[in-house]
Structure formats: structure tokens, C-alpha cells
Amino acid sequence: MAFEGLSAKLQNVFKNLRGKGRLSESDVKAAMKEVKMALLEADVSFKVVKSFINDVTERAVGQDVLNSLTPGQMVIKIVNEELTKLMGDETVEIELKSGNEPTIIMMCGLQGAGKTTMAAKLAGKFKSKGRKPLLVACDIYRPAAIEQLRINAEKVGVDFFQMGTGHAPVDIVKAALNHAKAENENVVIIDTAGRLHIDEEMMQELITIKEEIKVDHTLLTVDSMTGQDAVNVAEAFNSKLEITGVILTKLDGDTRGGAALSIKFVTGKPILYIGTGEKMGDVEQFYPDRMASRILGMGDILTLIDKAEAQYNEEKSKELEKKIRKAEFDFNDYLEQIENMRNMGGLSQIMEMLPGMGMGNVNLNDFDADQGEKGLKMVESIIHSMTAKERANPDLLNPSRKNRIAKGAGVDIADVNRMVKQFYESRKMMKQMSGMFSGKKKGKFKLPFGFGG
């Protein structure tokens, strides 16, 4: 991957910080200079970087360094925490109205951001959740934009509404709402033309729609590769249209995606979804913590260790170690491990870092991170379908329980079986590995290695 990691740079700076017990002002300032550069390289807006650096510096100076950490690690911890906090503390789902009352969603954004594609992806997503979406073509300007939406609507198998290029978008929307009513469609997604935030006439077009129709969600779609201008764009769209959420596209590229931070910072609106490819299924939930890591650009095992250490307090890690050693590790721990792993930057990043470790029996070359991520999600949903008792006592799982769990998670019983088997294997492997590591430094290395492909 093309990440030239901030972590590498930070490690460099922090070499000089090692061995001191408390963060002095000059230490933090030196470190923050590097953080600043790295955030700028990641395209975080200059003003946002400035303010972020000020806040974090203030927080960091004079802080006692936690027992288990070096001062450098402590700064990393603070930077990362603040960054994650800024990105939004949790994953936000778009709220759809219950029953048959239609939820009206309007897309907006600059030209080429990916609105049309995303509109169709969202329609597909809502459809798979049992909704009945309608896609409405209101881009009456760009040649073949309507055709593009029509084809994509067909691909995801949802209804599509258009009136050609000869009507005002607001009138198209009104007619579309009637159509939706007649067809019992309960999510109406309006695709609009790309427009510049400074193009007042074009902005007015969307304002008019909002004035005349009760739009429930106004979603700003932004190209994740956007540079410094992201703040201007987000600010303008937000102030004129009161956006309710943000969608980031093209994150399957190798951009660090600093725009995400800028946008969140200036609008305060949650980032809801991300686009990760050209296929209609390539839309994912947004995870603020993962985005924070991506912007930071962690690319090496050192960071992983730092974070792993920061993640666990001594007590908890001892407890976990004990559990692993005694093979008492249960589904709750498993779930927690997945969560922790996410906090460390997601599976693909961890896998990237691992080859240097030369972990014997996990064949990393064969590891497909996408696949792995999907697998993780499945594991999570399976565990979520277990009772508290089952989570604490994996041995309880018999075929009828597994059957119930499979139904609850919406997966095959074979998936449950595979997951349980993997769980036991992981537990075994962790036990072996805990032996490997415990000799070096206690509480040093606690990672869930059990999620091979």
C-alpha cells in the first residue's frame, strides 16, 4: 500500500521522547509538528489541522504517562483518541420511517463525486433490508445521467422514475412522490445533478426542493480524494441545505482521506456510508475509528504494538492472558477482540503489518482482507444472536441451539458450525501463542490471530 505512515514519522520523533515520565511542552510540540505535517499530507484542511493540533497539545502537555506506556506511545494514544472523537464516536445508521410512510432522501454534491452510483447502491441496500425504494432521476443537465441511473436501478432491481430533462427537478420530485404512493414505495431516493457550491442558481434548485417537499435526509456525497477545498464545499452545502449526513466515495483508492475529518469538523454531521468500489454492492457502513486510523496512516507493526498496549490496561490484559492460557476464552472475549482489532485499524491494516512478524501458521499471502472483513461481520452477527449464557459457555452449543442462532443471524447453519470451529481453533492457537510471547514481557502482546481466511 502506498501509505507512507505517520506512525513511522512519529516513531522517529518519539525516539527522542522515550524514557521520560511526563509529557513536557517541548516534547509534545516536537511531536505535534510531525503530526501536523502528516495530517496535511493526508489532506486534512489546514484550519482543521491547526485547531486539532492546538486542542491535542493542550490535552497532552503535562499529562502523566500511563504506567504501561512510553511517552511516545502516550502521545499516539492521545492523538488517536482525539482523532476518533472528532470523526464521531459511533457508527450512525440512516433512519428510515416505519411502515409505509416514505422516507425521502436527497443526494447532493459536486460534479463527479459519485452521487448517481451511490444513490443506486443505497437503494439496493435498503431493498435488501426489506424496503421498497424508488430512484428518482433529477439530474437533468449531465448528458446521459438519467440513463446511468436507470441502468443502475435495473442492476439493483428497484423502481425508477424519470420525466426526461424538460421539467424542473422539484416538479419531478412531486410527481415521483405520487408514483411512490401509488406503488407503495417507502424510500424515495432523489439523484440530483452535480453542482458547484458557489453556483447560486444551481444551489437554489435544491433549496426549492427542500422548501416544497419534506426531505427527511439530505446527504452530501464527497469524493474521499478531495483536498483542502473540502471545508469550503462542506460548509457551503451545509449552510445552504442543512445536510443531515455525509457519504464518502472511492475509498477503495489509496487516498488517506483527510477530507473526512475536515467535513466532519466543519459540519458536525455524521458520515454514514462509504463507497468502496464500482459494483452496486460496494457500499459499507462508516466506522469512525477505522477512518481515524486510515488518516493517521498506520502502516507498521510498531504502531500496532503501541496501540495494542494502549488498548489494554494491565489488569484486563492479565485477565485475558489467563483466560487464553486456561482456554476459558469465550464468545464475549472473541467479540471484544474483534472490536479491539477494528480499533487498531481494521483487518486489512493489521494483516499488512503482520508479515514482518513471520507468524508461523497463518498464511498471510492467501489472506484476503475483504473476505476477512466480511467474515468478521458474520462472526459478529452470529455471536450477537447467541444468548448471554451461550456466549459465556461455548460448549453449550448443540445443533438445535446452532439452528436457532443461524436463523437469528440470517446465515446458514454451516456458517455457524464453521465459525464455532474457527473459534475453537483460534482459542487453541492463542493459547499456544500466549506461551510464545509471555516469556518476553508480560502483557505485551495480545492480538486476536484467530481470524485466518
Partner: protein, 322 residues
């Protein structure tokens, strides 16, 4: 070539470049006096002044590295030439960036020879639109133009291009959606040869530069042109969205690995983005910017003018907002 900026689009845009364009038609130099220059706020060259400059460059998306280099260079020159006056310092800076961005003399040679122009770039940057505009310009200057619809992937892409070729009044070579882009290019090259076209413009599907197989597809398309039309003058333009940040550098680099890039088109400069990443690219990769896109109208493509571009980098917010 008609350099005239005809604002036949009903919408009056307020972006800096479009007004700049209109301004240029009148007097070429009035613009710099109109700049709310950050320089005038300073009476001497000190750290604050340099810092302000640095910020300006970074906020224009020039990037940390290129900015540092530019600043180091500037400091040196200021010292060498005993410059005391911020205004002079400004001129120095503008001149050096300008020089950096200069367009080679033979940049538009493809207009005068039987040529094949490949237009490539990541998704949504403005490839198809730029081709439409370019086709219009070339056609207006009396060239015989053929356009190849080698984006057979994105929904509606062929129809979109067809609208543009109609607007431009040029011929389109296309197959159905989902067909092999290399086959389309093959057809188009042969059409260009047999019809003695002056310029063949090839639209390609948007692709992220980190997708290996899609990049290989570009290589394959290029090979077809090499093989089928070895005498053609080759031009390969990478289109970059002017709003893009540092990733544009990675884009230019990666596309450069599969194609001999001869120039860059920066689009969407009618917005508030400055497109400063082009400075970093020209520094690091020495690829000249040849065109800028300043709107969605067929006339909104201009040959690159380093001076107005550079001056725009330093234009303040007020200049953008009318």
C-alpha cells in the same frame, strides 16, 4: 484557435477562473492588481510573512513537500538578491512557480499531425466532458476529429459521450456497453486511418490507479494503438480533478507507469479549489499541464496559462466570492 471565452451558458458562475477568463479577454494584466494579495498586508519579510505564504501554498493543495521546497528556494533567493520588500518577494515566488509550470513549445503539436489522444484518469474527474470540449475546439479550428467510446463499462457512458460528439459535430466510434474497450479502440484507429482523421480522441473508463487489472487494460489499449497506428503522433492526457488533494500525485505517478503521459488536464477550476497539486506534480514528475476545465459548457476548456494559474493560487477568498 479562437481563444475567445464565449459565455453562452446562461448561468453566471462566480468562480475565480471563469471570471479570470472573462477578465483575460479584456486586459491581460488587470487581474493581478485585483488580487487581494496576502502580501500587501506585510511591510517586511519576516517569519510571519513566510508562514502566511506557506499556509497559502498548502491551502492551495500544493502539498507539504513541494511547499517546503518552494519556500526554501524562495528564502535562498531573497537572501541572495537582498530583497527586503514583500511585494518583490511575491513576484519572485510567482515567477518561480510560473517557470516551473511552463508549457513546452510543442505541447499542442498533436493538433498539427495525425494523432491519437488517449484521455485517462480516475472516476468522475471529467474525462468525457473534457473530450467533448476538446473535440468541439478542434472541430472549430477545422480539424477532422473522431472520438472513440472506449468506456464501455460505466452505465450510460457511451450515451454521455454521444451527446458530446453531437454537440461538437464530430464522429463517434462505439460498440455496445460491456464490449471490449480494446476492440473499440481497434475500430476507431482503423476508422481514423481510413478517413484520414486529424485527431482521434479516446475516452476511457474511469479507473482508480491502484487497481492492477484495470491499469493493465490501459496498457493493452495502448499496445493496440502502437501496433495498429505506429505513425500516429501520440498524446496521453491524464485528467485530474482540481478539487483533488495529495492523492492526485499518486494518480499521476501510477498512470505514468502504464502510459507515457504527455500532459495533464485539470478540471473544475471554476469552483473554489486551486488545483495546486499540479505544482507538486510538475515538480516531481515534470509533466506539463496543458488544459484547464472551467465549467460544463463546451467552451469551458482553456489552454493552460501558467501565469494566471499561478496568480490564482494566491487569490484570496474575497476574489472567489465576487
Amino acid at each position: 484557435m479562437s481563444e475567445e471565452i464565449e459565455n453562452s451558458g446562461k448561468k453566471e458562475k462566480k468562480g475565480f477562473f471563469s471570471r479570470l477568463a472573462a477578465g483575460l479577454a479584456k486586459t491581460r494584466h488587470s487581474i493581478s492588481s485585483g488580487l487581494s494579495s496576502i502580501f500587501s498586508a506585510f511591510s517586511q519579510i519576516d517569519d510571519d510573512f513566510y508562514e502566511e505564504l506557506e499556509e497559502t501554498l498548502i491551502m492551495a493543495d500544493i502539498g507539504v513537500n513541494a511547499t517546503m521546497e518552494i519556500m526554501d528556494n524562495l528564502r535562498e533567493k531573497v537572501k541572495e538578491n537582498h530583497i527586503k520588500n514583500p511585494e518583490e518577494c511575491k513576484q519572485l515566488l510567482i515567477d518561480s512557480i510560473c517557470e516551473q509550470m511552463s508549457v513546452p513549445e510543442d505541447a499542442y503539436e498533436f493538433e498539427n499531425k495525425p494523432s491519437v489522444v488517449m484521455v485517462i484518469g480516475v472516476n468522475g474527474v471529467g474525462k468525457t466532458t473534457s473530450i467533448g470540449k476538446l473535440a468541439g475546439q478542434l472541430k472549430n479550428s477545422g480539424k477532422r476529429v473522431i472520438v472513440a467510446a472506449a468506456d464501455t463499462f460505466r452505465a450510460g457512458a457511451i450515451d454521455q459521450l454521444a451527446t458530446w460528439t453531437e454537440r461538437a459535430g464530430v464522429e463517434l466510434i462505439s460498440q455496445s456497453e460491456g464490449s471490449d474497450p480494446a476492440a473499440v479502440v481497434f475500430d476507431a484507429v482503423n476508422a481514423a486511418k481510413s478517413r484520414k482523421a486529424d485527431v482521434l480522441l479516446c475516452d476511457t473508463a474511469g479507473r482508480l490507479h491502484n487497481k492492477k487489472n484495470l491499469m493493465e487494460e490501459l496498457r493493452k489499449i495502448n499496445k493496440i494503438v502502437d501496433r495498429e497506428y505506429p505513425d500516429a503522433y501520440r498524446e496521453t492526457l491524464v485528467v485530474l480533478d482540481g478539487t483533488t488533494g495529495q492523492n492526485a500525485l499518486a494518480q499521476a505517478k501510477q498512470f505514468g507507469e502504464v502510459a507515457d503521459i504527455t500532459g495533464i488536464i485539470i478540471t473544475k477550476l471554476d469552483g473554489t479549489a486551486k488545483g495546486g497539486i499540479a505544482v507538486a506534480i510538475s515538480k516531481e514528475l515534470s509533466i506539463p499541464v496543458k488544459y484547464i476545465g472551467v465549467g460544463e459548457h463546451i467552451d469551458d476548456l482553456q489552454k493552460f496559462d501558467p501565469r494566471s494559474f499561478t496568480e490564482a493560487l494566491f487569490a484570496g477568498e474575497e476574489d472567489n466570492q465576487k
